[in-house]
Amino acid sequence: MSLTSLSAFEVARKVKAGELKAVDVAEAALAQIRAVDGLPGSLDGGAVSADEEKKVHAFIQVTEKMALEQAEKVDQAVARGEDAGLLAGVPISIKDIFCVEGTTTTAASRMLSNFRPPYTATPVRRLIDQGALILGKVNLDEFTFGSSNESSAYQPATNNPWNTDHVPGGSSGGSAASVAAEEVALSLGTDTGGSIRQPAAFCGVVGLKPTYGRVSRLGLIAFSSSLDCPGPLSRNTRDAALMLQAMAGVDPKDSTSSTRAVDDYLSTLGQDVKGLRIGLSPDYDAVYYPNFETGELHKEAIQKEVHETLYRSAELLAKAGAEIVENVPMPNTAYGIPAYFVISRVEAASNLHRFDGVKYGYRTESAVSNLSELYRLTRAEGFGPQVKLRILMGMYLSAAGHDADYYTHAQKVRALIRQDFVRAFEPDGDHRLDALLTPTTATTSFKRKAVFGNSLLMQYSDQMTVSSNHAGVPALTIPAGLDEAGLPIGIQLIGNDFREDLILRIGHAFEQVSRDEAWRKVRPQVLAGEVKA
C-alpha cells in the first residue's frame, strides 16, 4: 500500500511509533497532488486543455512550505520522545472558507482574493496542535453557495475523481475530491444544508456533520450562522472519529460552541450494533419539488439504485445485529428545502453586508465619486451571481412586512422539523431510534453543467441532508455502493443530539459487514491503473 493510501489512523500510528517520517508523508502527498490535481483554481481560470479536464483541480493553494515545516516539527517531537498528537503527520486539506494565518483565504470569491487573515480558525488550530500537516486550501462553491463547486470564482472548478466529467458535489467539493483522490487523508469541510455529506457521497468518502455547536465556528467565514457546522471528511469512519476527536469541544471565542464534555469517539467505535434500533422513513424515499405556478409540492422517486442500496444496507446492518424499524414518520422532511431557502438566505444576506471594499478584501479599481458608489461597484465586481442571488433573496424575505410571512414562519417550520427527530429518538416514544438510516442524496453525481444555473434544482440536491441542519442533530454519510455508471452511492445515518459516537459506531459496523463487497475494490478513475511506489 502506498503512503497516500494509508488511513489517517495508520499514518499517525506509524509516525508516532517511529516507523514513518512525517516529512516523507508530506512529500508523498505533495507528489500525489502534482500527479492528479492539475492546474490550481485561479481567478479568470477560463477553459483548460482536454488533459486538464481529466484532472481533479481540488486545490486553490498548495501550502508546501507550511506542510513541510509542520512535518519537521512532528518528526522532532517524535525524536524527543514527546507525544506528537492524535494526528501526527496526517496530511489534511482545508476548505478555503476557514481563516488560516499564512494563507490567502478566498471563500472561492473575487471579493476575498487578497484576504490574508491575521489569525487561524479554531478547528484548524486544533488540528495543527494535534500534529496535522496542512497541505493547502481546497476549492468550494463561492462563499459555500452551491452543491456542485461550479459557482467558484476559482476555475477550473473541482472534478469528481470517480469520473471527471461529473461534479464532486458541494460546497465542500474540493475537500471530498482531495480525500477521494488520495491527495490527503482528511479534509476539513463545512455543512450548512449538506455541504459535507452531499460531496462526500458523490465522491465515495465519509463525511460527518457534527451536532451544532460541537465544533467551534471561530474563523469560519459565515454563510448561515445558525446552521453552519465544521466537520471531517475522510476515507473511513475511524478517521472521521479521529479528526472529530481532535477538533471538538468548547471554544471561549464561539458563544454557540457547546460546553458538553467531548465523548471518546475512538474507544466506542469497535463496539457491535446488536440491539441498536435503526429507522427507515418513507419520507426520505422521495424528493418533493415545487410547482412554479402554484407553489404546491409534487413527489418524484429517488434514483432506483440509491433506493436499492439503502435497503440492502439496512439488511446488512440487520445481519450485524441491529433492529430495523420501518415506517418511521418524518412528515416535515419535504419542507426542509423551502424553510432553508428562507433561513439561510436571510442569514447569508446579513453576513454578506460586511463585504464592502473598505476594511479588507476586494475594492473596485474604477474611479468613484463617493462611498455609496464604492460599495456598489465593489460588490458588483466582487460577488458572483449565486452570491448576489442570495443577498437579494435574503433581503426580500426579511423585509419589513414580510417577516411574519417568511422568516418567522420558516423558523416555526424548523421547530416542527426538529420535533420529527425528537419524536423518533425519544427513549419512551413509539420508535426509540438510535439512528435514522436514509439516502444521503436522491441521485448520484450529475454531469458538469447539467444543473448549474438552476438554483432551485441545485438546492433540492440537499433535500435528504438539510433537515438535520435545521434540527441541529449529527449526521454521517458513508459509501455504500456504486451505481451502474460506476458512481458512488452514499447512505446517511442521523443521530440524536451529541450522539456522534453512535452513528460513527454504526457506520464502522457497516464498513466491517460490507468489507468484502465487490464495489469496495473499485478505485476512482483518477487512481485506477496507477503505478505507485
Binding site: 479588507y360 448576489k388 416542527l416
Partner: protein
C-alpha cells in the same frame, strides 16, 4: 393557492438596497431565479402550524458559554488589521468622501 411574485419594480428596489449593480444578463437571470425560489418558499404555506409553536432560531439551542465580561482587550496585531484595508492613511482605514466631494 395564489403566489406572491417579485415584481420588476420591487426587484430594482432590492438591488439598490443591497448596494449592487447588475448587468442586463445578471438582471434577467436573478429576477427569474428569485421568483422560482419564491415558489418553493410559498409551499411553506401548506403547513398547518400548531398553535403555540415557538419559532426555532437554532434547532438545537446552543448550550453555549456565558458571554464574557465586557472588558476591553487589545488585539495584538493591529497593524495587520490596518494592512488588510485597501486604503489607509496614518494607521487609519481610509474611504472616499461620503457625499462625493473630493
Amino acid at each position: 393557492m395564489s403566489l406572491q411574485h417579485i415584481t420588476p419594480e420591487l426587484f430594482e428596489k432590492l438591488v439598490g438596497l443591497a448596494a449592487l449593480e447588475l448587468t442586463e444578463e445578471e438582471r434577467a437571470y436573478l429576477f427569474e431565479e428569485m421568483n422560482h425560489q419564491l415558489a418553493s418558499v410559498e409551499s411553506l404555506r401548506q403547513i398547518q402550524i400548531p398553535e403555540g409553536t415557538t419559532p426555532s432560531l437554532y434547532g438545537l439551542h446552543p448550550e453555549g458559554i456565558s458571554p464574557r465580561a465586557d472588558e476591553w482587550k487589545a488585539f495584538t496585531k493591529p497593524k495587520q488589521i490596518v494592512a488588510l484595508a485597501p486604503e489607509s492613511e496614518d494607521g487609519m482605514i481610509a474611504v472616499p468622501d461620503v457625499k462625493g466631494a473630493k
